[in-house]
């Protein structure tokens, strides 16, 4: 990555996040460059969702800096951060249960004022997900898990984000849907949206990501390209459940 000179679209510098007095993130550093698909891997309660909420300003930090395109955003209200081109597909999708599919999508475009363009973009989402169009006036709560995932994705894309945050997109989906989901994420990324994805399913995530970071109890312990992380012994043992480590390429171990 040394040859990459553009400014990172997202950057954490020495970030400590707390819930009240309880520290959850310890000295987090990472960068995401424009066009990248980066994943943050880690087990339960390692602080993955907290990292995303820190980006959005929902969780407050006590130390460090969160930057979007080199500008400090920590301390700004969430809507200002969203307005700078961040969108999220939250953990468990968080569809508005008693709003229709269309209304859910409209909420994704809440900060946009180009009404007509929003209408066109909604049509594009329906082309991407014809299933949603069939259910346009159905309440969110009545959708299946897979359909809700599509809706959450469509809703997030409707803000035209520069960077899309995804919190465990594979959660609760059947293996077939997980495959579809990851294909879609890859496609969206190829079309130019930078993606920062949180996952427990390390194998799947690394199969589409460019780079990855590994989070353990609130600290980043490892970072490397996706390919090398897939082959890393430490990863194999801890997250990939594999035994046939090809080679023990080091990665960047972070003490």
């Amino acid at each position: 990555m040394t040859e990459m000179t553009p400014t990172p679209i997202l950057e954490f510098e020495n970030v400590d996040t707390y819930y009240g007095n309880i520290q959850v993130l310890y000295d987090i550093n990472f960068k995401v460059y424009p066009g990248e698909l980066v994943c943050l891997l880690g087990g339960n309660a390692s602080g993955k969702s907290t990292t995303l909420k820190t980006i959005l300003g929902v969780c407050k930090i006590k130390k460090g800096t969160v930057k979007l395109r080199n500008e400090r955003v920590n301390g700004l209200p969430t809507k200002k951060i969203i307005a700078r081109g961040v969108a999220i597909v939250p953990e468990n999708r968080r569809i508005f249960p008693r709003m229709t599919v269309l209304e859910n999508l409209e909420m994704g475009a809440y900060l946009r004022s180009d009404k007509n363009q929003v209408k066109e973009d909604i049509e594009k989402i329906f082309e991407l997900f014809p299933r949603l169009k069939e259910r346009i006036n159905q309440a969110g709560v009545t959708l299946s898990g897979g359909e809700q995932q599509m809706l959450a994705m469509g809703r997030a894309l409707l803000s035209n984000p520069d960077i899309l945050l995804m919190d465990e997109p594979s959660m609760g989906l059947s293996p077939r849907l997980v495959d579809q989901q990851f294909e879609l994420i890859e496609k969206v990324n190829r079309q130019g949206t930078t993606i920062f994805m949180v996952e427990q399913n390390a194998n799947m995530a690394l199969s589409i990501a460019h780079r990855g970071y590994v989070l353990q109890t609130g600290s980043i312990v490892l970072t490397d390209t996706a390919q090398r992380l897939l082959n890393n012994t430490m990863m194999q043992e801890a997250y990939l459940g594999g035994t046939e480590a090809c080679e023990t390429s080091g990665g960047t171990k972070i003490p």
């Binding site: 959005l56 969203i82 939250p90 968080r94 508005f96 709003m99 909420m107 809440y110 900060l111």
Partner: protein, 310 residues
């Protein structure tokens, strides 16, 4: 039996009048509950303040027992200003008594609401006194228009006006909630406050709008009840608040359409009850309904059983 049937249309009219007013009050409870999960005990006082505002407008526009403007204009001014003043008081209570406690335990918020209720009552008591203010509506409506008869049913001008205005306001609210951006944001916030934040919705602003709308409707109800029953005093908010709360629970607290339905049903029930029971039992009806609903269908008629928010 016959006599009951004969009275039926009359009771329906009366019930709808009362029910519309209850519905307007219930909407304020239910909207605030829907977003903050709190019972705004001060809502009855917001209604009372609406009543006083209406009284003052009428009072200031009356000279020598004669209104100095067109009656329709006076009534409109009473309602609009009552909505404005109540809306403003609602926003202020949110800003100073509830917002600082947003992250505190729920019980603190409830106690604060109770405090606001007592504070507002005493504020009005201090500056307006304890005596009953009488709405002098005699000059507002010419004698020959005050009532008209259809068969044995008496339509009073005021009742027809109140029914029209309440239903108009509810229709307007429905349009706002369903069609406008801020209305959709209000629903989104009520359904999932964090997800709403993720969309870029400014939740604080939405809460302000909710207090504004809910309080304004409560204020309108206060003035209209003043016009109907021609009285207001510093304590009227207590009973009105209880009725509105009952209606909200009956409809399903958190549901706006539930509040409308609950209010109308409660009004009809009270009104029909006095056909069969001595009128002293009127208020007992509301609380009987409240208790029955809490026992057999705590989520109310239109409320959904939703697991506690995590």
């Amino acid at each position: 039996m016959n006599i009951y049937l004969e009275q039926l249309p009359q009771q329906l009219i009366n019930g709808l009048t009362l029910g519309g007013v209850y519905a307007l009050i219930a909407i304020g409870y239910t909207m605030v509950y829907g977003i903050l999960g709190m019972l705004n005990f001060a809502h009855g006082e917001i209604y009372m303040i609406g009543g006083f505002t209406g009284w003052w407008v009428l009072h200031l526009l009356t000279r020598n027992n004669q209104v100095i403007m067109n009656s329709a204009l006076v009534i409109s001014l009473m309602i609009v200003l009552a909505m404005a003043v109540s809306g403003l008081v609602g926003i202020l209570t949110e800003r100073f008594a509830y917002r600082p406690l947003r992250n505190a335990p729920r019980i603190n918020l409830l106690l604060s609401a109770l405090g606001v209720s007592i504070f507002l009552q005493n504020l009005v008591l201090t500056y307006q006194g304890a005596k009953v203010r009488v709405f002098h509506i005699a000059s507002l409506i010419p004698q020959d228009l005050r009532v008209f008869h259809v068969g044995s049913t008496v339509f009073s001008f005021m009742r027809v006006m109140v029914i029209s205005v309440t239903f108009l306001l509810m229709a307007l609210l429905t349009v706002v909630i369903k069609k406008t951006k801020v209305g959709k944001a209000m629903r989104a916030t009520a359904q999932d406050i964090e997800a709403a934040t993720f969309m870029g919705i400014d939740v604080d602003r939405i809460v302000v709008v909710v207090f504004l709308i809910g309080s304004a409707l409560g204020g309108a109800a206060g003035t209209m009840v003043g016009l109907l029953f021609t009285q207001v005093d510093y304590y009227v908010g207590f009973q009105a608040g209880l009725k509105g709360f009952t209606a909200a629970v009956l409809g399903g607290i958190g549901s706006i359409y539930g509040a409308m339905l609950g209010g109308i049903l409660l009004g009809l029930a009270e009104s029909l009850a006095v056909t069969f029971l001595p009128s002293a039992y009127k208020d007992v009806v509301a609380f009987t309904i409240l208790i029955i609903i809490l026992i057999i269908r705590p989520q109310g008629l239109m409320g959904e059983k939703i697991p506690e928010k995590v």
